[in-house]
Structures are given as C-alpha cells and as structure tokens.
C-alpha cells in the first residue's frame, strides 16, 4: 500500500494510542514538558525583561545575550545537562534536564520582547503617568505591562511553538514524549511510525500557535489594536532575523 495509507493506518490503530507509551501518553508528556518550560520562561523572561525595560538599563547585554543564547544547540545542551552527576542522580532527572533545556530555549524571545515592549511605551504616556503621581510599581503594572502585552504575547507564542516542536528531543535522554516514536521508528526503519509521530508534533505545534494567537487577541487592550499589529510584526521580525 502507499506510504500515506500506511501512515493513516498507523495513526488509526487504536492500540497505538493507548498504554504507557501510546500516542496519548506521549502527547501528554510533550505538553507537560513544554508547559513547565514555557511557564517558567514567562516568569523569568517577563520578570527580568520588564524590570530592565522599566529601568532602561542593560539593553546591550540583554539583546545580544539573548541572541547569543539562541545559538546554543538544544540537542547538545540537553545531553550535557542530562549527564551532570546532580541530574543523573535525580529520579526525574531526564525530565528536569529536558525542562531546563526547553526553558533556555524559551527565555530569549520572551525576555527580548518583554524588554522591547516596555521600552517602546510612548514616552509621553510614561511621562504623564509619572507626573500624575504613579509609583514605579503602579506604572509597571497599570501602564507599561498592559501596553507591552501584545509584544510579550508574540514572544510567548514564538517560544511556545519552538518549545513544543523541539521537546521531541527529550526522548533521546529518556522522556517518552512524541520523540519516543520518532526515534523508535528511525531505529526500526518503521517510516510510518516516524512520520505519524512527527505529524502529531506538527499538529500539536499548530494548535498551540492557534490557541495562543486567540489568547493574544483576547488579552490585547482594546484601544491598542492597530499598534498591536505593528508590534507583532516587529516582534516576529526579530525572531525571524535570528532564527537558527
């Protein structure tokens, strides 16, 4: 039979989906790993990026450091972390190693966008806010963050899609996510298996992208829709320029 119908058959075989290493379980682990990494990256990236953007310091370090960090190959990083004695000894060591690596992957776009988003707030808006007696914390929470949110969401979206797609390599060090079937299929020359798993990863990534795009639109402050479109283009532009 044709390759595509082989894939279709593989995907529609019920037993492939159930069990501790079935597709469902693999999807679950992929999502779990990605979510942990992205949430941690949002906390760290927005936290640091916002703080630095607010004070205006560190732009050189931030932007160049973040770009440099993206050049680190995730595959090498995950192995390097996984073989550290501290990690090896942990029960969930593989997961931790993978999570750290995915975290490192997700932080640069979020950090950069948070920093730029906050710095890009209209100076006259910032001036008006300070002049009316807002404390720095109030300025950040009530004015800068809401206005930077579209750009931050663009960063989160980019990071999430990258993480979801790259999380497959966690299987190499023992986390049985969708990478499991990809590597297994490659080892056994079962192309249908490989392709099915890869296909599912792609679908997952697309769904995540769609979900976050909707969330981004919902969270965008109503009065800033036009600025948002421009910001998103600028934000993703930054991504594309420095894509690995």
């Amino acid at each position: 039979m044709s390759f595509l119908s082989q894939v279709a058959q593989f995907l529609t075989t019920g037993s492939h989906w159930t069990g501790t290493d079935g597709f469902l379980a693999q999807l679950g682990r992929q999502i779990e790993l990605s979510a942990v990494a992205v949430v941690a990256a949002v906390v760290a990236g927005v936290g640091i990026g916002a703080l630095l953007g607010h004070t205006g310091r560190g732009s050189f370090l931030i932007l160049n450091g973040a770009n440099a960090a993206r050049a680190v190959p995730s595959f090498a990083l995950v192995v390097l972390i996984a073989i550290q004695p501290g990690i090896l000894g942990l029960q969930q060591g593989a997961f931790v190693a993978a999570a750290i690596t995915m975290f490192a992957l997700a932080v640069p776009p979020i950090l950069t966008n948070a920093y730029v988003g906050i710095r890009d707030v209209d100076p006259s808006v910032r001036s008006a806010a300070v002049a009316m007696g807002m404390k720095p914390g109030q300025l950040l929470r009530q004015v800068e963050l809401p206005l930077a949110l579209p750009l931050i969401m663009a960063g989160v979206r980019t990071a999430s899609v990258e993480v979801v797609a790259t999380a497959t390599l966690a299987a190499y060090i023992g986390v049985a996510d969708l990478g499991f079937d990809i590597f297994a299929g490659l080892d056994t020359r079962n192309n249908a298996e490989t392709f099915s798993a890869a296909f599912l990863v792609a679908i997952l990534a697309l769904l995540v992208d769609l979900l976050l795009a909707t969330a981004a639109r919902a969270l965008t402050p109503a009065g800033t829709r036009e600025a948002t479109r421009a910001a998103r283009q600028r934000g993703t532009g930054l991504m594309w320029r420095h894509a690995r």
């Binding site: 808006v125 806010a129 002049a131």
Partner: protein
Amino acid sequence: MIQFEAVSKQYGTGPYAVENFNLEVADGELCVLVGPSGGGKTTILRMVNRMEQPTAGRVLVDGHDIAKVDPVELRRRTGYVIQQAGLFPHLKVADNVASVPRLLGWDRDRVQDRVTEMLELVGLDPGLYAGRYPNELSGGQAQRVGVARALAGDPPVLLMDEPFGAVDPIARSRLQQEFLALQERLHKTVMFVTHDVDEAVTMGDRIAVVSQGGVLQQYATPAEVLGQPATPFVADFIGADRGLRRLAVTPIEVADLYTPPVVRPNATIAEARAAVAADGTHWAAVLGDDGRLLGWVEPGRLADGPDATGNSSTVAKYMRPFVARVSLDASLKTAFAEMLQNDAAWVAVLDNDHYLGVLTPDNLWAALRRSVGGEPVTV
C-alpha cells in the same frame, strides 16, 4: 501660590538650562511662560511637579519647599497637561479621567460622578465619549480629555506645557477660549508654557518672558509687556506687531466713546440738520423711544422738501442701518475689526441692547494710548 527662589539647573558642569530664576505666581493667577523654544521654560515648569530637580535654589508651593515633600504626593496634587496629551491608549476615556482620583483612593461612586462632571466641564458629552478609546478621538477632543484628567483630582495647581500646540488654529482658539471660561470658574493657580506670543497675550493674567538660559526678561500684564517692553529682547520677541497686539488686550471703556447727536425716527430732516449743526458734526444717531439704536442719518446729503404726499421727509425714510456693532466687553481689536469688516468709519458700542456711544478710528487710537499712560491728544 508658586515661588521660585534663585532656581538654577545645570547639567553636569556644563551649560545652565536655567540660571538664577526668580518668580512668584499668585493664587488663582494664570501665569504664562513665553519665550523662544529651548529657552528653559519647560524645565522651569517641570520643576513645580518635580519632574526636574533644580541644582540650586528652591521651589515653594503654598509656602512649602517641595524638595522636602514626597514627590508622588506632590504630583497627585498637581495637574499636568502636555502637548501630546499622553492619554493611556489602553484605557477608555472615563478610565483615563479617573486616573488621579483612583490613585487618591476615592470610592467608586465618587470617581464615577467626578468623571462625568469633568467631561461635561471640558465640553464632552459623557454619554458619547466616556466609553471611547483615545485612538478614536480627534486632537482637540484628546486634549480636552487631557485637561479633564489633569483637573479630576481637583488639584490647586495646574501645569500646562504647550497644551494646544498640536491642534489646528481654529480648534486651538476654541480651546483657549473654553479654558479661559473654565479658569473663570475654577480659579486654579496655572503655569502655562508657550512659544506663541499671541497665545500668551490671550491666556495670561501675567506673562513671564523667558529667554535662553531661563533668564526672566519681564514679568507683567499683557498690556504692559506689549506697551512697555522692559528689554530689547522682549520688544524683539514680540515683534513689530506689538502695537496691533495691544489692541487685543485693551478693553473698550465708556469714557473712550464719542456720542453723536441723537434724533428720533419721526423727526424731520430739517430737525436732524439742526441737531447736527449744533454739534458741529455731520451725522446723527437715530434712537427709538426705548433707547434702542435704529440707525444713523447724514442730513447734509439729503434733500429737504415735501415728498409725494406733501409732508416734509422724516429721518426714518432716509435712515441707514448701523451695521458695525460691538459689545462693551469686547476688545479694541474686535471693535477695529468690525469697522474694517463693514467698511465703516465708526462702530456702535452696546451694553447688551443698550446703546452707549460710538468708536471712531480717532478715539480708538486715543484709547490705545491711554492704555499705557500716553498723554491724551486731542485730534
């Protein structure tokens, strides 16, 4: 009340943005800082809400040195309006206006009422505008919201930095007049920065002419600054038009008016001619029985004789309408403009509908000289 005592602002060891500046703005006064761009006016203004810190000297508000006051508290008590309005784009107009009241911790109902009150005060229908976003407003509307927002916390002091600069001239003129009306009601202590002499003259109770380095050249009423510039800089800055500009700030006074002889509409031409001759002039005003101005007549140019029915002609028949009119509270400029507009040699001055007299070019000029204590000259 705002006081500047020997205030200086120096950047590093370099040039002085402001050097030894002294000024006192009285309570309820609208003080305009006017001068060339980059002269230090905005720096001086921003010292009042501590957006800039002086490197020497003190700024006092209500007798207190503001350097010793918590800047956040100070700013919540000081309104600030800037040229670009600086409205929060992610908040509706109502939320923008509510900013300071919320920072002050007012309860929700009080905030709501205040927002409605402020929007009405600046001439925006709350029903229409409260729910809009800044990007849905025109420049003039945005600036009004900016003023509403600055006044919402009922600050005693209002700082305005070229607030009407980004708006077209027609809207700007309207905003100026509306703000003056507002100030009549509210009596805030206002410091207003502009580089436009005409705006300064229109808005200010007193004008402070500030040159490069924050040097105070003159601090006086518009009429004084225009009529008796203290330094060559001031004279230069105002320009050759200051004579004309004085017209705009000089009011009409009853003592300036000329009162021509008066006749009734049913008087005959002969009677009118007699009245005019007795006064030594050429024409008479025609007033009705209730004192209302009906028109004017120039008997010397009319025929005197029986009309078709055999009666002597009456004034009413030859009376011409008094087209050029101004109200007593108008400026000499408005009066002169009326004259030119209607190609008339005089303009009637009325207090509501009550006729008071007439301004001719001669007594207009005498009035202008009177405004700066010139010797009365009879023409």
